[in-house]
């Protein structure tokens, strides 16, 4: 074996998440009425464009999730030895980026270091100058004259390659669309251009065009330059930015996965059973949510740090340690953020339990468990979904702040937060080292913006207020409405007297 697979805790959970997502997709596809809101997401141009970007980020994140320890060549062939370093598929793909480490800072596209160094000339004299980089632009004879041309040449090639592959995608897509609708190719193409297709392919394709071109350019250039420069220890910032994506995704998704069971179970139980169950659950989440989030996280992470420091024997590699810390961070974030969803679910369940179909189920003597699983759970899932997508971007942003404060991910783990934290120290430097900051912010912005736009599209599609409006209007008309609102007031009175 050339490698030994490693499944870290977060890896396992991500695989689980992917599996859950696949099962969910399969299930939704089989149920027409569940497909309806998703179709609406599919019809939103901004939603689909942002989904395209998100898919790109997610595939990088997934590549970075497949971990293993490569075998090390050692002289005697008796026993395989595996490296202590845990690598991922992304690391392998980006090997040139990972291994070409310079001495220290260098600006984007630079061929020289960012700081002067004293160099001893062959004749023994010393002079201070910007030494050439070991890898960045190393192929150039005379960077001063060649650099611009070389960069422009490579960028153009990259652009062309990007466009070419985009055209390939466009052709494939329109051929398959044309075949499906049994229309001519030119008709399909013009329909796509006009935005006359069911899914707004023009928005998706425009996003893809931008992405392909920038990926092409980045690919062509990054083999010979540090396109986003290097950091203090000479590591490529572009590589760091790519690695940060997984951390952001893990925080954004696993946190929700962690808290979901609690929020669902407790929220529905509180709303459904009311009485003392409700009192206890309300007390728990009021207490937890009354501790300001950052402080609770800070306190919990500090304590976790102490625990990990005093129990170093628990982790066999640095990666495992950093990973476990990431997982704990997710759990802690989950503990502080489940209360909001729990409250929402409790409120919705309180409303649902008075619905007449649930009364009808009671009249049939249907068990509590079945009422919860068949009637309540499916009718609160849209809230869970909206909360999940809405929370994602906030969590990605929170990671950066927490890592900055020092209660985020392990310092050895590459993340947007650690990148910013490291770069911040160089703010005062003259001239300023800006590239690490800017690329961290740039990547984060792209990720969070597309997540926000997608969340908006999902919310629009699933928001029951918008959807049931015409039904609501019809249902409440006539005397039904007076009855309805009277019932509601009596109910509110009863409820009000139950809870403070």
């Amino acid at each position: 074996m050339l490698f030994k697979p490693v499944i870290l805790w977060t890896d396992a959970l991500i695989y689980l998440l992917v599996m859950v997502a696949l099962v969910f997709v399969w299930y939704v596809r089989r149920n027409e009425h569940m497909l309806v809101p998703w179709r609406r997401v599919g019809h939103s141009a901004s939603g689909m464009a942002s989904l395209t970007v998100l898919v790109f980020f997610m595939s990088i994140g997934l590549l970075d999730t497949v971990h293993f320890r490569p075998a090390i060549e050692n002289g005697s062939n008796s026993e395989k030895v595996y490296s202590v370093e845990v690598l991922s598929l992304l690391d392998i793909i980006a090997t040139p980026l990972r291994t070409r480490v310079e001495k220290t800072y260098s600006a984007p596209f630079a061929a020289h270091l960012y700081a002067r160094e004293t160099i001893e000339l062959p004749d023994g004299a010393q002079m201070r100058e910007f030494p050439r980089l070991q890898f960045g632009g190393a192929h150039l004879q005379d960077p001063a004259t060649q650099l611009t041309n070389d960069v422009a040449e490579r960028a153009t090639t990259g652009l062309a390659l990007g466009l070419l592959s985009w055209c390939l995608v466009l052709t494939l897509l329109s051929v398959s669309l044309a075949r499906r609708d049994s229309a001519t190719l030119s008709f399909t193409l013009s329909a796509i251009r006009r935005g006359d297709t069911e899914v707004p392919w023009n928005a998706v394709l425009a996003t893809l065009a931008l992405m392909f071109m920038s990926i092409g350019v980045a690919l062509m250039l990054s083999t010979h330059y540090h396109i986003f420069g290097t950091d203090k220890v000479g590591q490529d910032v572009f590589y760091q930015s790519l690695k940060s994506i997984r951390t952001g995704l893990v925080i954004g998704t696993l946190t929700t996965l962690m808290m979901l069971p609690f929020a669902l179970l407790l929220g529905i139980m509180a709303g459904y059973f009311r009485g003392w169950v409700d009192d206890v659950i309300q007390y728990i989440y009021t207490t937890l949510s009354s501790i300001p989030g950052v402080l609770l996280i800070a306190a919990a992470v500090l304590m976790m740090q102490v625990y990990m420091e005093t129990h170093p024997e628990l982790f066999d590699t640095i990666a495992a340690r950093a990973d476990l810390r990431l997982l704990f961070l997710c759990i802690i974030l989950g503990v502080t953020s489940w209360t909001g969803l729990c409250r929402l679910l409790r409120g919705e369940t309180l409303k649902l339990r008075e619905m007449e179909y649930i009364q009808a189920a009671h009249a049939f003597g249907v068990s509590h468990w079945r009422i919860i699983s068949r009637h309540i759970l499916p009718n609160v899932m849209h809230i869970v979904l909206i909360a999940t997508v809405m929370d994602f971007s906030g969590l990605v942003l929170a990671e950066a702040v927490l890592s900055y404060v020092g209660v985020g991910v392990d310092p050895s783990m590459i993340s947007f937060g650690t990148m910013i934290n490291a770069a911040r120290l160089e703010m005062a430097r003259e001239p300023m080292v800006w590239w690490a900051l800017l690329s961290a912010f740039g990547f984060m912005f792209a990720l969070v913006l597309s997540a926000n736009l997608f969340a908006d599209a999902v919310q629009d599609a699933f928001n029951p207020r918008v959807r049931t409006w015409p039904l609501q209007a019809r249902k409440l008309q006539r005397r039904g409405r007076e009855q309805y609102s009277k019932d509601k007031t009596v109910e509110a009175e009863i409820k009000g007297s139950h809870s403070p």
Binding site: I291, P292, L295, A299, T310, A400, V405, G406, L437, F441
Partner: protein
């Protein structure tokens, strides 16, 4: 009314007790004081004596919940739980690692925190509501559309970026105000301008969008149609009818954070070098000063609960339906 307030305060007590138990568990049960001492003194080369000394200095050398060596009430009072957790109810937070009294530090640092947090809060509220009203007034036009786009974009930018970018642009490039620092009195103004502006901008996206949603929801209600049917112009409909109703969720949502303003902002204060409670907390976190962090957790929860009580009271003030029932 007074009765009501007293009742609300009584409700708060079990919650505070809960918070206290959580912090106690977190700080003393998950890790023993020995662990903390070892962590602070360095894992490897640490003698048991040094640990004992460290614990004694901080009063962590007593049993957790029950002191068998004492008699009578001392069984309960001479314990970590009583001296460190129960004492917090009397605002006795003990001493920080540098030997200073935490309660005193908190008192002196509240004012600088408030000096940025309060203007950010008040000006922010005005700015966000204004923009949200404009967007609601021009709903379903390009003003509204691009407003929402701008809000989403603003929401997607890390707050760290606003601070770093603002410091770079305004202080470093344009030299308009000092990068960081603080002084008491009127001089503080020049130090506060930048953090306040940045604070407002970084909260603008989310708040404006949320207020806009509230306004639009309110505008779809039946009484707005009634108001229009009276022949009132749209501006009066918006300001007299919609705004008044929308202010109920907006104000009560805002009131809950007022007490928390005393805590200041963690990152802004540390970036701008303002000696408030936020930077105090950050320093405590990075130097792993558990006593301070514990005190801040308790104080934060206390202030939040005060905020909840104020919210309930403000409901009764702004909503006649609750006031008069």
């Amino acid at each position: 009314m007074l009765n009501y307030i007293i009742r609300r305060i009584l409700y708060a007590i079990p919650i505070l007790v809960g918070v206290n138990l959580i912090t106690f568990t977190l700080f003393f049960v998950v890790n023993t004081p020995d662990d903390m001492a070892r962590m602070q003194l360095g894992i490897k080369r640490v003698t048991p004596e040094a640990i004992e000394k460290w614990k004694h200095e901080r009063g962590y050398d007593k049993p957790l919940m029950l002191n068998d060596s004492e008699e009578g009430s001392g069984k309960f009072t001479h314990t970590i739980f009583f001296e460190k957790s129960v004492a917090m109810f009397a605002f006795d937070f003990g001493r920080a690692d540098d030997g200073r009294d935490i309660a005193h530090e908190i008192k002196s640092r509240m004012l600088p925190s408030l000096a940025i947090a309060l203007p950010v809060f008040l000006l922010g509220l005005i700015v966000y509501i204004t923009f949200a009203l404009v967007m609601a007034f021009f709903r379903a036009t390009y003003v509204d559309f691009w407003g929402v786009v701008l809000c989403v974009a603003l929401m997607s930018i890390s707050s760290l970026f606003y601070i770093i970018g603002g410091q770079f642009l305004i202080s470093k490039l344009w030299h308009l105000v000092p990068i960081s620092g603080y002084s008491s009195g009127l001089d503080a103004g020049k130090f506060l301008v930048l953090p306040v502006i940045i604070g407002i901008i970084s909260g603008a996206g989310a708040s404006t969008r949320w207020y806009r949603t509230i306004f639009l929801e309110e505008m779809s209600k039946d009484y707005v149609r009634t108001a229009r049917a009276k022949g009132l112009p749209e501006s009066i409909v918006l300001f007299r009818h919609v705004l008044r109703n929308a202010m109920i969720p907006i104000l009560t949502g805002a009131v809950v954070v007022i007490p928390l303003l005393f805590l200041g902002s963690l990152i802004a204060e540390s970036f701008f070098g303002i000696p408030g409670l936020g930077s105090y907390t950050i320093d405590a976190i990075s130097s792993q000063d558990f006593a301070v962090v514990r005190a801040m957790v308790f104080l934060g929860s206390l202030l939040y609960i005060v905020g909840l009580i104020l919210t309930d009271i403000s409901y009764t003030l702004v909503d006649p339906r609750i006031r008069l029932e």
